[in-house]
Symmetry: C2
Subunit: 231 residues, 2 copies
């Protein structure tokens, strides 16, 4: 596809919202932003709560999930530092449909949505930033629906691992830069914990990964991607 000029210019010139703002707007956010620290396992917002703030993760890792039936929960999105989140519900005029929880000690900056909307009214680039971000996320959600419902267990787990690699990167020794419990890995790839463990062990036997507790070292990324793609 030939990317449209405006979008190309847009994505080249800005990597995040901050760069789109003038000094006055930045000060508005500095004055109204609230910095908060969350411990591992602490919840940042809850399903059912009324949204008032947009949040920016400054440090740490956060999972966005939904509680399903019979205690099974489903991870919807994962947030990494300098990512904005928690704005969808406000824009939709809804309560939060998801819960956000810190995976590890995290620092979050909360900015009142009123301030954001104020800025948006005067700054088209900020509007477009959200439109673009929401559009990308909607595409991801649509893809995920098909992947989670149609791929088999191996494919789903492999996909989750690829996703983690792409989101958080690999260390020098090829260890995935996030340590998840088997349970979280399961709720990311829509399966039971037992099956996540079993399938993971399978990957070790096939020499695709090596395990050391929650550390996952990727041995054969190509094969992992292949398993993910073929379902």
């Amino acid at each position: 596809m030939q990317i449209q000029d405006e979008i190309l210019d847009f994505s080249k010139s800005v990597k995040e919202v901050w760069k789109l703002l003038n000094n006055q707007e930045r000060n508005l956010i500095r004055k109204n932003g609230i910095i908060q620290h969350f411990k591992k396992g602490q919840q940042i917002y809850y399903e059912g709560e009324a949204p008032k703030f947009m949040m920016c993760l400054l440090k740490g890792k956060v999972k966005i999930f939904k509680d399903g039936f019979g205690g099974r929960s489903q991870i919807i999105r994962m947030i990494r530092p300098i990512q904005y989140f928690a704005y969808r519900a406000y824009f939709a005029g809804e309560d939060y449909l998801t819960t956000a929880e810190a995976f590890e000690a995290s620092t979050v900056c909360s900015i009142p949505m009123k301030i954001i909307v104020e800025i948006m009214q005067r700054n088209y680039q900020v509007c477009y930033y959200f439109i673009r971000q929401l559009s990308v996320d909607l595409g991801i959600a649509d893809e995920r629906t098909v992947n989670l419902t149609q791929k088999h267990i191996r494919g789903r787990l492999a996909e989750a691992l690829v996703f983690l690699i792409e989101s958080y990167g690999l260390e020098d020794d090829n260890t995935i830069n996030i340590y998840l419990s088997r349970d979280d890995l399961a709720s990311l790839s829509n399966m039971t914990t037992s099956n996540a463990i079993r399938t993971l062990t399978g990957f070790v036997t096939e020499r695709v990964i090596v395990l050391d507790g929650r550390k996952i070292k990727v041995i054969d990324e190509e094969k992992l991607r292949k398993i993910s793609k073929l379902g």
Copy 2:
């Protein structure tokens, strides 16, 4: 939740984009909009194609779907008249991830995205319309992910029927105002055609619905919603 003032005002004052525009903007769209007719089963845009137009369904019914593995396709969204669609991919800077197909003879107005972006730059309300719409759709997609992966067959089919009732309404005699093939019903609720047929027959036995070919008459809507909710 107490809906934020801006959003309340917004949703009260406008039901669709058209009302947000001034005369000049309306003329711009009138001049550049292309009206097209599609026969039943005809495709409107394809997965992989580069997006150039936003579309508004003027008449008919359209399904947005993704091809999955082994011929199984998944309906992602369904469009009814005076709904806008086909804009996500452009905003995300991607090719279409889905295919749109007319369920029945349909009329579509295509407006070049360049024109839309031009209007957006000058009209904040139009920006906010898309932000709101994308946010709502993202919420729906997230809900769907959990529903389709965690509910059992009966719950998923019931949910699909409730969705059809809410999208297209009921006739005077309680017939759902859209006639889908068993196959489409299956790909809406993520199951095989056989299971869609079987489960539908089950609902007839339980006196929840009555069937007459593709006509579905709802007898006990409350029970249908209950089945949908409990999974």
